[in-house]
Symmetry: C2
Subunit: 347 residues, 2 copies
């Protein structure tokens, strides 16, 4: 016998119940990229994943060949106004000087101490070569385990000056979604960074879900030897083995991965060759450039449409022209991303 | 009602049936290492895997940290009397001379041509430096894709002189079982070879189930550039970036993997530092040395118990002493392996 109560329910309510059932996650797949606005960038990603993972697709790729490479600074997290690793190196100077007091009066250490003492204007005096000298001193001489512990320690307290948050919170939420989406579709995700391989490995697993063996970066030599108690140790040397920037990116990809990526993501001229090399392979390819055109929520610099290059020397004005010529997809932070960071309020 | 036929079956037959059921693979797990004789080597492997993968074990290791590294030549496949890659380089000399006829009268190419012409005794004149000169010529100048195709082509026809079989069939069956057993237990298996990284990558997936990104080897530099039609290419240079032998093995492991292995397998002094480095980590560790003490089924050379070193200069006589001192497990080919190759008749 029918329940008089059910029969008495209005038709509209029954329709609402039916709609609710249809909207459960099991019935309608959740958007894997919820922080991306609909548009050509999001569409290019979804189309690429379908083309390479659908067995019925002419461009289907076996799971083992699904390699995606990501630049880090400016592509996966904030790089402005200074790379996080440069901040680390500068902030190591007081400890270096404490250990070797004779460095106190020697450039570039002298200027770095002035900057850290509050004289921000003095930073303009530091050349790229100066930064290399500081980096060589800050990134060598210790064992690889000592270095890892020191970076972990620094990251646990250091904060970005604008957001007053640990640097590890400044990863772009849309890119974290993209990494997860690709991995859920059988892609192996790699970082291919001009930054230090050992530095990025310290936090890549926690921040991006990328294990140490999937971080390719500028790599210093290590030397195998023995501590005083006979324990084998690997000590970091002030000698660059792989300069993983520009043409060094495809070279580093070949050295560490040994396969050509299907997809590559970058934001600067240092990524040009990685994107070219990726795009020169057969079948479905995806090359994307993150454009920093969001002065309000992040920064506007580089080759954004008509915006001034605020980071002189790093970005030529016409990387977006190259993207057009090559058929690369530009990701506009302003237009394509609903939310930038996980700590941002949901839109 | 009971069937009179069933009741009439003798008790002994019923017992046989019960025993047969108990012996199905589902009831008794198959031996994952069927080509290994019972003994301390096999036991050490099984104990190590249980200790690191049983969640109740005090030495349990999370899957992402389960890294095992294997030397190739002499550990995973036959290296005697010459490394396969040396054969490849020597056999490339006629093609090199055809391209550059002036090399014909120049050493060491002249001697190599004599050896290939049948004068096997002339091989004794070739020094290690001569082989390096030939290798540099044979392994550089082409794009990485051209090199891969050429090695594939060579491997499809080249044969070992003793077994008259392709080199790729000379992988040790017990080690193939070990690789599979470790992978089935969540280990990531890497080759860490003094041989050429690009050379080994060509066949590592087909022979060992090890993908290119899990091959660490002696690596030459590549240079990114453009072919005449503008296509981006990586060209192999005659310059060594990583000499992945001896102390270079832990250095290469750090460069490419960035984690200390839990288990390492080798057979020569070139593997000593890799095994030391592996053993110096915390928790359960497994370091094993393959001992070539089977003159009948393979070769006897190196630091085997009292056997003469037939490969002078490569193996000091006391690597087995080092193994005892360090607590490494020696794998005796003669005693520990039932079958050497997949093409051997089952014992």
């Amino acid at each position: 016998m029918h329940s008089p109560k059910l029969l008495s329910l209005p038709v509209s309510l029954l329709l609402v119940c039916t709609a609710a059932v249809a909207q459960t996650p099991a019935a309608v797949p959740a958007d894997p990229l919820p922080s991306w606005n609909a548009g050509p960038a999001k569409q290019a990603i979804v189309d690429f994943v379908h083309a390479t993972t659908d067995k019925a697709s002419a461009k289907f790729v076996a799971p083992e060949a699904r390699i995606a490479t990501f630049d880090q600074d400016g592509t996966l997290w904030v790089e402005h106004p200074l790379y996080t690793q440069v901040m680390y190196c500068l902030e190591k100077v007081p400890a270096l000087v404490a250990k070797k007091p004779e460095l106190k009066g020697v450039e570039p250490f002298k200027t770095v101490l002035q900057v850290l003492g509050g004289d921000r204007a003095a930073a303009a005096k530091l050349s790229l070569h100066d930064l290399e000298v500081v980096a060589a001193a800050a990134l060598s001489g210790m064992t690889v385990e000592q270095f890892t512990r020191d970076v972990q320690q620094w990251l646990s307290t250091a904060k970005d000056a604008r957001w007053k948050r640990p640097y590890t919170e400044l990863a772009y939420l849309p890119m974290l979604e993209l990494l997860r989406y690709l991995r859920a579709n059988g892609f192996k995700t790699y970082i291919v960074t001009g930054g230090g391989q050992d530095f990025v490995r310290v936090y890549a697993e926690a921040v991006y879900g990328i294990p140490p063996e999937q971080v390719v970066g500028t790599a210093g030599a290590t030397t195998y030897g023995y501590a005083n108690d006979g324990t084998p140790v690997l000590r970091k040397e002030p000698k660059v083995l792989l300069n993983d920037n520009g043409p060094g990116k495809p070279e580093g990809i070949h050295l560490v991965i040994g396969r050509r990526p299907l997809a590559a993501f970058g934001n600067s001229t240092g990524d040009q060759q990685m994107l070219e090399y990726t795009g020169a392979g057969d079948g479905a390819r995806l090359e994307m450039l993150v454009l920093h055109d969001d002065a309000k929520r992040e920064y506007a610099y580089g080759p954004a449409r008509g915006l001034p290059a605020t980071k002189v020397g790093t970005f030529p004005p016409r990387l977006d022209d190259l993207a057009k010529q090559k058929g690369w997809t530009v990701i506009s932070m302003k237009d394509d991303w609903k939310r930038l960071f996980a700590f941002d309020a949901a839109p």
